[in-house]
Amino acid sequence: MNAPRRNDTLGALLEQEYVAGFETRLETDTVPKGLSEDIIRLISKRKGEPAFMLDWRLSAYRHWLTMPLPRWSTVKYPPIDFQDIVYYSAPRSKKDGPQSLDEVDPELLRTFEKLGVPLHERARLAGVAVDAVFDSVSVATTFQKELATLGILFCSFSEAVKHHPDIVQRYLGSVVPPGDNYYAALNSAVFSDGSFVFIPKGVKCPMELSTYFRINARDTGQFERTLIIAEEGASVSYLEGCTAPMRDENQLHAAVVELIALDDAKIKYSTVQNWYPGDRDGKGGIYNFVTKRGDCRGARAHISWTQVETGSAITWKYPSVILRGDDSVGDFHSVALTNNLQQADTGSKMIHIGRNTRSTILSKGISAGRGSNTFRGLVKITPKAEGARNYTQCDSLLIGDRCAAHTFPTIEVRHPDARVEHEATTSRIGEDQLFYAMQRGISAEDAVSMIVNGFCREVFKELPMEFAVEAQKLLGVSLEGSTG
């Protein structure tokens, strides 16, 4: 398995750089480093927020100060100096915010174009509306007008706070309360921007909505907040993509995503996360500490999370669904890949409250190099959840012999009717599988990529088409050299 000739070929491939690792040079509007009530007031003022928002932030901040650092996870990282982070950095613009694309700095448009997310009218991705978030602010949202004719609100969080404060106030923090956990509290205090989606009653969103998150500025944390509301009978499919420049320092990304689905509503949320993972020795990379939760607040509501996590030095996230409405459905489909010194601690929580609620957790963890991959899951069936069902399948694939996979499933059943199934497998890309493919003339690299894609197939088929192709490519790049 460790024949030198193969290492040579793969070694050459490994020299390939993280393609999204460039930095854009721009004038920025940045607040001083550090965190205090004054900084929070400054952020809120810069953003021109109403008073309720500032109060909300300050109360979250005061709560955060009382919270201990979470220590239950398996991820290891040096203490973060929260006073050494810039909490707000925005590309400087002439006015408060660009009113149209003509006012957006061309350098910014070029950046997103380079990342494969063209924003101007001619080159827009067909059938996909994009909100582009650069460091702390949203720079542009496409197809807004077209969507507005259907009553769909798709805009940056900041705009939503200004133009639809009533909706924001009603739903913000209703799924992930400000004091939910350490990083959610921090996010609630300092979040700067993100996406806001509101699909009114009975409307099926005719195109994919997506947000592209880009971290650019040095020493800056990205704290975005996404809120998606689907009213009765509404449906939407939302995609999220992420990249960051290559830097030797670690950068913090602590986001919160809240989904609310009322009666018969359906929200499908897909993520392809490719934050800079750090170099081969584990230097640099993003700390991705994210809280994502959906609330099936109505009967027959359906929330589905699909994620492909290949980036970040550390990933720490558990997209979850609260199945409150009767007959509501929650899904979680995940591929998490760790290579080199990456660590991922990810999984899902399914909280069954309503009757006949159903959930599925399908997790595929791939560990290569010295990567460490942890699945952590909670399935909770409350006493009222008559007829609740859960199926969990959790598969780990190991490539090489220096990586690790851990599984921590927790099941709490408080109703005698519940049916909870859990299946877990761990396999190694066998020498026998590789040899079989190579004996047919297929190269080692192609064989690994074929086997890994086969392993992930059930999850990839949940992704929208363009994303599935992207995800396959990404896995290929992230795995280069991993058989050596």
Binding site: F435, M450, C456, E458
Partner: protein, 261 residues
């Protein structure tokens, strides 16, 4: 032409092949028989390039090349095919995708244009019919949930598609009922050609009722101890492997490569 000289192979310090020599000319079919543990499968895997075996000595020359110096995939592309005794399952990867990737890797190497999906499907469907495989096996994951017989047919199908110059069949007949055995034997017979050599490894004589080999060799303790024509297989069947292993009176003809240790 394949020439194996005094091949010595061990795994984790245990010697398995102890000076095996064999010559297979173009177009010849050689059968290798022997009791369990005699080194038959090791020979097959070493020829195909499996790295978990340690070659301690000897040489293998194939068409003027040092076979042992070639990586496994290079051997495959140059036309060496191994039909596995235990074909490997690859979950999530469709048989069609796997076969096409293999065929095109080999075609690229031979300077032939790659098949597109349409051409490939037309070709593979025709060959599947010949080995009695239903089309649904194209869309199932490689060998996953296949019965023993289906796996072996899939091996023959791959051999047909890859058009090897040297095919090594490792106990392809084991575990097959008589119908499956006939189909497999048929597949092998159809592929016999003056430009293609075959090494057919088998535990039992019965496969040789359908494939008439040019030579039969008996392997014992990592060495070829007897070689002959088809009659050797029949004699072996009648007298059992104990005859070879020395439990019975001394062998009537001296071993080809020295006395057993």
């Amino acid at each position: 032409m394949l020439t194996i000289r005094n091949l010595q192979v061990s795994v984790s310090g245990t010697a398995i092949l102890n000076g095996l020599s064999l010559e297979v000319k173009d177009g010849e079919v050689h059968a290798i028989m022997g009791p369990n543990g005699s080194g038959k499968s090791t020979l097959a895997q070493v020829l195909a390039g499996r790295e978990s075996f340690q070659v301690d000595g000897g040489s293998v020359e194939w068409d003027g090349h040092d076979l042992l110096a070639m990586p496994a995939e290079a051997r495959a592309r140059a036309g060496l095919f191994l039909a596995f005794q235990y074909p490997v399952e690859i979950p999530g990867v469709s048989n069609a995708y796997f076969l096409k990737a293999a065929v095109n890797a080999v075609r690229r190497h031979r300077g032939l244009p790659e098949f597109d999906a349409m051409d490939f499907l037309a070709r593979v469907k025709a060959e599947m019919a010949a080995v009695g495989m239903k089309e649904e096996f194209l869309y199932r994951a490689v060998n996953e949930g296949f019965s023993g017989g289906e796996k072996k047919r899939n091996e023959i199908l791959q051999m047909t598609l890859l058009e090897p110059r040297l095919a090594v069949l490792d106990e392809t007949d084991s575990g097959l009922d008589i119908d499956a055995l006939k189909i497999v034997a048929d597949g092998i017979t159809r592929l016999r050609s003056p430009a293609r050599s075959m090494i057919v490894i088998t535990h039992y004589q019965r496969l040789l009722d359908y494939i008439v080999p040019d030579r039969v060799h008996v392997l014992s303790r990592g060495r070829i101890v007897r070689s002959g024509g088809r009659e050797l297989a029949l004699e072996l069947e009648a007298r059992g492997y104990g005859w070879i292993d020395g439990a019975d009176p001394p062998a009537p003809t001296p071993p080809a490569t020295g006395a057993p240790s």
